[in-house]
């Protein structure tokens, strides 16, 4: 494979003839490759009027970022007749290993279960093209993977023709077996070595037309489903790396504090099971035989702390800073008789923690470091770990492990870098786990934000729609930032001068309505928090504010919310999903007082979603008793329709939409962090109220729209924005009051705050009195 470097430049894909160039790799068994930068079809030039994301969005930027680097992805045909592929992306539950196996199975004529998709370790040569985010995986890998698989199939056919004494044109391939005109057949297992190429060579291939698909577009269960339900699916904390004993960190009482001194190190070192106690910049690390003993040691530590980054600050002080940083609205001249509607919405801090806590295994030696973790940006992790432990990048091996959820969390390398530092300091391998309490209190949060909107209306027409979104600074230090700075020249005119955050805002936000003069601007301030983007960057907040305003405008002009939207929506795909949920969800059916329907749309990731929900805000429901649980209004029914372009796996897409609805319910009604006196109060899943079974819709329906598109769209995040918006709109209609702060229950602190010293709670001992 060494001669790949010097291969001649090849012609770009000719999309009309759908002919692509890839490689047969020299080797003992059949191995093929394609350039990951084959990417997307070209985008249109940017005319002045439509909003930017309609033409060139964040996904295009990510796809473009891949173009300049030669990034080979390889498929190997094994001698047992299976195919193997290392996906340079990360599986966190979104189903990309399944959809990737389906794409390969389709082009290769292999059953899906004979395709093994694993996650590639950090591959620095891929540069920006090993980032899992922006719901971009399938969009950017679809074509290159198909090209590689098609080349493999051609090579297998070529070898089979010789074996069967026939010609390729007379052969058929099915389920991993190639059959000749006489009925004689040969399997991929038999052909794996015979089809191997002695040298690496560029070959061209034509892809199967969409009309011939038999796997893509059919519902498939996840490839890892059996492992998941039997407990055999392996996560980072399940790895058995020799010597990597359980390790936890005693963290500061205020956000981002640091240890000054340890008062009782010797005493803690003498505790049962404890092997090491060392201070690092984020706290004091302890390593012990079991995590239980780590918990005890963390609780026993007496540490003197330096102050944190937001001492004394609270929700109110941060909100005041946001208000002061708002870019003023500047309504263009409008006719005298026009009515003006204005509202400001506030979105509180939210924790993006997954159920699997932050964790990593690290083994740092004098001359080499190895790290295992769930990482969506492993190349950035590799660089940061190298810098943290003072090793050259090539001396750091970063293994990507399937993650127990991400929601933007695993774009960051916090646990991997911390584990590496601890391992280096202790001089032994460590298996680092964050306590649950550490996650909301010191982990990544989705920034607090405000959205001010002013619209003007005259004679049933919306003349202007202005939005000013102001947010606590969002951390894009996971590679998306670098991606943008390296691709400034590719961005549509005028974007090159914006900062990262503003660029991303402009590339993702799209008001889908014809509302006259539309301006949407972002300003970010306050960098002292550990932020990230929780399952979508700005869209859920921005869309929620917009859709509530759209309902207000509909009411002002005396129109039904669905009819009003249909009248003003620009895009037929968005209108179609809206019509679909209105029909399936029986929009307008009569409901008792205190209950209502709500509807909302969203357009992003080259797709469209619409959600219709029914909410029950009657006191008997709101106050239903659940021990230590937040109840409140219940979304009793949710109907979501999604147009995601060419759908690889409708079953997986439906699952992503279901997750999006669960997130939307939490964002609208129950989940937030409370900042008081320089720290977040939440420390448990019974403090931070993500949707639970008692708040899940009793009736959930997802409609995957048929699409004629040749191009897949994004899925992982697409369901959230319309969901939170629909729940907010339903709540407004059920209660007669438009909510302006989210989640709506943020005012009630519905739990007893756990102590900050020690930073983590003791594990209970009364588990046997809570059996059922």
């Amino acid at each position: 494979m060494t001669d790949l470097e010097s291969r001649p430049p090849f012609a770009r894909a000719n999309l009309r003839r759908r002919t692509f160039v890839g490689y047969l790799l020299g080797g003992a068994t059949l191995a093929v490759a394609a350039d990951l930068s084959l990417g997307n079809p070209a985008y249109a030039a940017v005319p002045s009027l439509p909003q930017i994301p309609e033409l060139y969005d964040l996904g295009d930027l990510q796809t473009d970022a891949a173009r300049p680097t030669a990034n080979l992805i390889r498929i190997v045909i094994n001698t047992d007749g299976t195919a193997s592929f290392e996906l340079p992306r990360m599986e966190v539950g979104q189903g990309i290993t399944t959809s990737t196996a389906m794409i390969i199975a389709e082009e290769l004529d292999l059953p899906v279960d004979k395709v093994h998709v694993s996650l590639a370790p950090a591959r620095p040569e891929l540069m920006f093209n090993q980032l899992t985010g922006g719901s971009n995986t399938t969009v950017s890998t679809y074509t290159p993977i198909r090209v590689a698989a098609a080349i493999a199939r051609n090579a297998l056919l070529g070898a089979a023709a010789i074996e069967l004494g026939s010609i390729v044109a007379l052969l058929t391939s099915k389920e991993g077996v190639i059959t000749g005109p006489t009925g004689a057949s040969v399997s991929y297992a038999d052909l794996a070595t015979k089809a191997a190429s002695p040298t690496t060579q560029a070959v061209s291939v034509t892809l199967a037309p969409r009309s011939s698909f038999t796997v893509i577009g059919t519902p498939q269960n996840r490839v890892d489903a059996l492992a998941a339900v039997t407990g055999r699916k392996t996560f980072t904390l399940d790895l058995e790396i020799p010597g990597a004993l359980p390790t936890m960190v005693c963290r500061p009482p205020t956000l981002n504090g640091s240890p000054r001194s340890i008062s009782n190190r010797a005493q803690v070192l003498a505790m049962p099971g404890v092997t090491h106690v060392e201070a690092v910049d984020t706290g004091v690390a302890v390593r012990a035989a079991t995590f239980g003993q780590c918990i005890d040691a963390v609780r026993a530590l007496v540490v003197v702390w330096n102050p944190g980054s937001v001492e004394g600050e609270s929700d109110a002080t941060v909100l005041a800073k946001l208000r002061a940083a708002e870019i003023p609205l500047a309504v263009p001249p409008i006719p005298l008789l026009a009515q003006t509607v204005e509202a400001e919405f506030t979105f509180m801090f939210r924790s993006s923690a997954a159920l699997e806590p932050n964790c990593a295994v690290a083994d740092v030696r004098a001359d080499h470091a190895t790290v295992w973790a769930g990482l969506k940006a492993p190349i950035v992790a590799q660089t940061e770990i190298a810098a943290a432990v003072g090793l050259p990048v090539e001396k750091v091996t970063v293994n990507v492990v399937t993650g127990g959820g991400s929601f933007g969390h695993k774009l960051f390398n916090d646990a991997a870098v911390e584990a590496a530092k601890i391992s280096q300091k202790m001089g032994v391998p460590v298996k680092l786990m964050w306590h649950r309490a550490d996650e909301p209190r010191q982990g990544r949060v989705h920034p607090m934000a405000t959205s001010r909107i002013r619209a003007t209306v005259l004679l049933g027409q919306v003349l202007t729609f202005e939005q000013r979104h102001t947010s606590v600074s969002t951390d894009f230090g996971h590679g998306l930032g670098e991606m943008i700075s390296h691709n400034l020249d590719k961005l549509p005119t005028g974007l090159g001068n914006l900062g990262f955050a503003e660029t991303i805002f402009t590339l993702t936000q799209e008001l889908p309505y014809d509302f006259g003069v539309v301006t949407q601007l972002l300003n970010e301030c306050d960098m002292r928090f550990n932020t990230g983007s929780m399952r979508n960057i700005y869209s859920p907040d921005v869309a929620c504010a917009n859709e509530l305003m759209v309902d207000r405008l509909a009411a002002l002009t005396g129109q039904d919310p669905v009819a009003f939207r249909l009248a003003f929506l620009k895009n037929s795909r968005v209108k179609d999903v809206l019509r679909k949920v209105a029909a399936v969800g029986q929009w307008g059916r009569s409901m008792p007082a205190g209950m209502a329907q709500g509807v909302a749309v969203h357009s992003e990731y080259k797709g469209a979603t619409a959600v219709l929900v029914e909410i029950d805000c009657r006191p008997a429901t709101v106050n239903r008793p659940i021990v230590n649980g937040v109840t409140g209004p219940r979304v009793t029914k949710a109907v979501i329709a999604v147009d995601a372009g060419l759908v690889i796996n409708p079953r997986g897409l439906e699952a992503q939409m279901m997750g999006g609805v669960s997130d939307g319910i939490a964002l609208a009604l129950t989940s937030s962090l409370h900042l008081r006196d320089g720290h977040f109060l939440e420390a448990s899943w019974d403090n931070y109220f993500y949707t639970r079974e008692w708040n899940a819709p009793l009736d959930f329906q997802c409609i995957v729209m048929p699409s004629t598109s040749e191009q897949p769209g994004g899925a992982g995040e697409a369901g959230v924005a319309a969901s939170v918006s629909a729940v907010a709109c339903a709540y407004a209609r059920a209660t007669g009051t438009m909510p302006t702060r989210f989640p709506i229950n943020h005012d009630q602190l519905s739990f007893t705050v756990k102590p900050f010293v020690p930073p983590i709670p003791e594990s209970p001992t009364d588990g046997l009195s809570h059996t059922f």
Partner: protein, 158 residues
């Protein structure tokens, strides 16, 4: 250091570990049984849900000394054997409905679901929405709707 004996997934095991270590860590860190997951350590998330003598419990909140030699602890790994099959009907229902996303919560969800259905059946009732609302297990991927469907299907087959 104490010696503790109990029955784990049908076999008697003996471990040398301090009395107060919670059973979850005995299972995961000492015995290498990693089906039960850690999600909180304070009996809230329910990711570690397993069975003791056929009832759901959370090993993160039980000291190993409180488990006796005749206590039967069943983790997700031992669930199929309780019905003498490759897979428990609840696991089959989970596959049928393609419930898992990241999968981290799912061993605990399945163990809780089996116990909930047993509890309802023992009371001679049919499963209701109110029963399902009592399940506290977090799924941060938000698979709740499929979980409800799967539990109903699993209950039919149990």
């Amino acid at each position: 250091m104490g010696q503790h004996t109990f029955i784990l997934n049908g076999s008697t095991v003996t471990v040398n570990v301090d009395d107060d270590v919670r059973l979850l860590w005995v299972l995961r860190d000492v015995l290498g049984i990693t089906g039960p997951k850690y999600g909180c350590g304070i009996n809230v998330c329910k990711a570690c849900t397993s069975h003791i003598n056929g009832k759901a419990f959370n090993p993160c909140s039980v000291q190993v000394k409180d488990i006796g030699p005749t206590d039967q602890v069943t983790t997700i790994e031992g669930l199929p054997a309780t019905v003498g099959a490759e897979l428990h009907p609840m696991q089959e229902a989970w596959l049928e409905n393609d419930v898992a996303q990241c999968g981290y919560c799912q061993p605990g969800q399945i163990m809780a679901a089996v116990a909930k259905v047993n509890q309802v059946h023992a009371a001679g009732r049919e499963l209701t929405d109110a029963d399902l609302d009592e399940i506290r297990n977090i799924c941060r991927c938000g698979t709740y709707s499929r979980i409800r469907t799967a539990i109903r299907a699993g209950a039919e087959a149990m």
